[in-house]
Symmetry: C2
Subunit: 175 residues, 2 copies
């Protein structure tokens, strides 16, 4: 599977169950949400703004998309988990299974972020995003065309500690 | 990482947080448990009994181990989750990253089972075990020497449906 196929298979509405593990306290968090992933035109003003922000030639990008989510956590039922971001892949011309992923906002921190992605032979998409004091590592794979899983970690910048891990099961929604 | 190293790194006591996702009902289950993984001597009577059960030459095996667990689920606090099994790897002589894993009991079903394992370049251990009406798929990887993750799925035998998925964070315990 290449990036183009991976993004294509991700397009749609997903019903997500996410479990957060706070490792130091062995605490669980449960989140139910709806995630919409929408293909964007490479000429979309939001996509061009991201290219501009990172000084990237719009000709180098592939399959940009928008992700939005809306959910509820069992930690605070009054808090609305809602947001969206634009994601812009830039495949490495020399190594087609690797590249960069630009985001107008990270979801671990609400600042723009550049992640390094790779896709392996088993179809596992891995994304590593370094922030000032932490790194986020995310693995996403499809187990069937309509079920995907996502494991996300926040590691300390030195890579030695893991503070939180979460697991999402995402099922394609017919509505 | 090869199988021998993978088993070696797994030896010890682990504090585990497991989240079960029951996909059809978007239901969560939370389990806290202690897992002990112990190296066994290839001549251990339990190991020889497993070889005998599957008619395997004991000379073909590598790094057998025992896994035992004890935990509590938020679904039924009176129910004690407790058990153990013996696991016996048989590396494929021609493809060192692949092989079979014999168990005296599966944990998805309480019958003996033969799984097919593989270890990829990123150190992800994948185990697929086929039962009569279902298949279990498990991926385990270390993110640091003392933190490992495990994603387990139960798929329908035709591979089209996923009934449950679970995610475990396992932290090496000093006690």
């Amino acid at each position: 599977m290449d990036l183009k196929q991976f993004v294509k298979q991700s397009i749609g509405r997903w019903r997500s169950q996410r479990s957060g593990h706070h490792l130091a306290f062995a605490h669980f968090e449960e989140v139910r949400s709806t995630i919409d992933i929408m293909a964007l035109d490479p000429q979309d003003p939001g996509v061009l703004a991201v290219c501009d922000l990172y000084e990237i030639d719009p000709a180098a990008i592939e399959s940009p998309f928008k992700m939005s989510w809306e959910g509820e956590s069992d930690w605070d039922e009054d808090e609305e988990l809602k947001g969206s971001c634009i994601l812009v892949p830039i495949p490495d011309p020399d190594r087609p299974q690797k590249g960069q992923l630009l985001r107008d906002r990270g979801y671990a921190e609400t600042i723009p972020a550049i992640g390094q992605y790779s896709l392996n032979d088993e179809g596992i998409f891995t994304l590593i995003t370094s922030y000032e004091r932490a790194a986020a590592e995310e693995r996403i794979w499809f187990t069937t065309p309509n079920v995907r899983f996502r494991v996300s970690l926040i590691k300390t910048q030195d890579g030695q500690g893991v503070t939180t891990a979460s697991f999402s099961s995402e099922i394609r929604s017919s509505s």
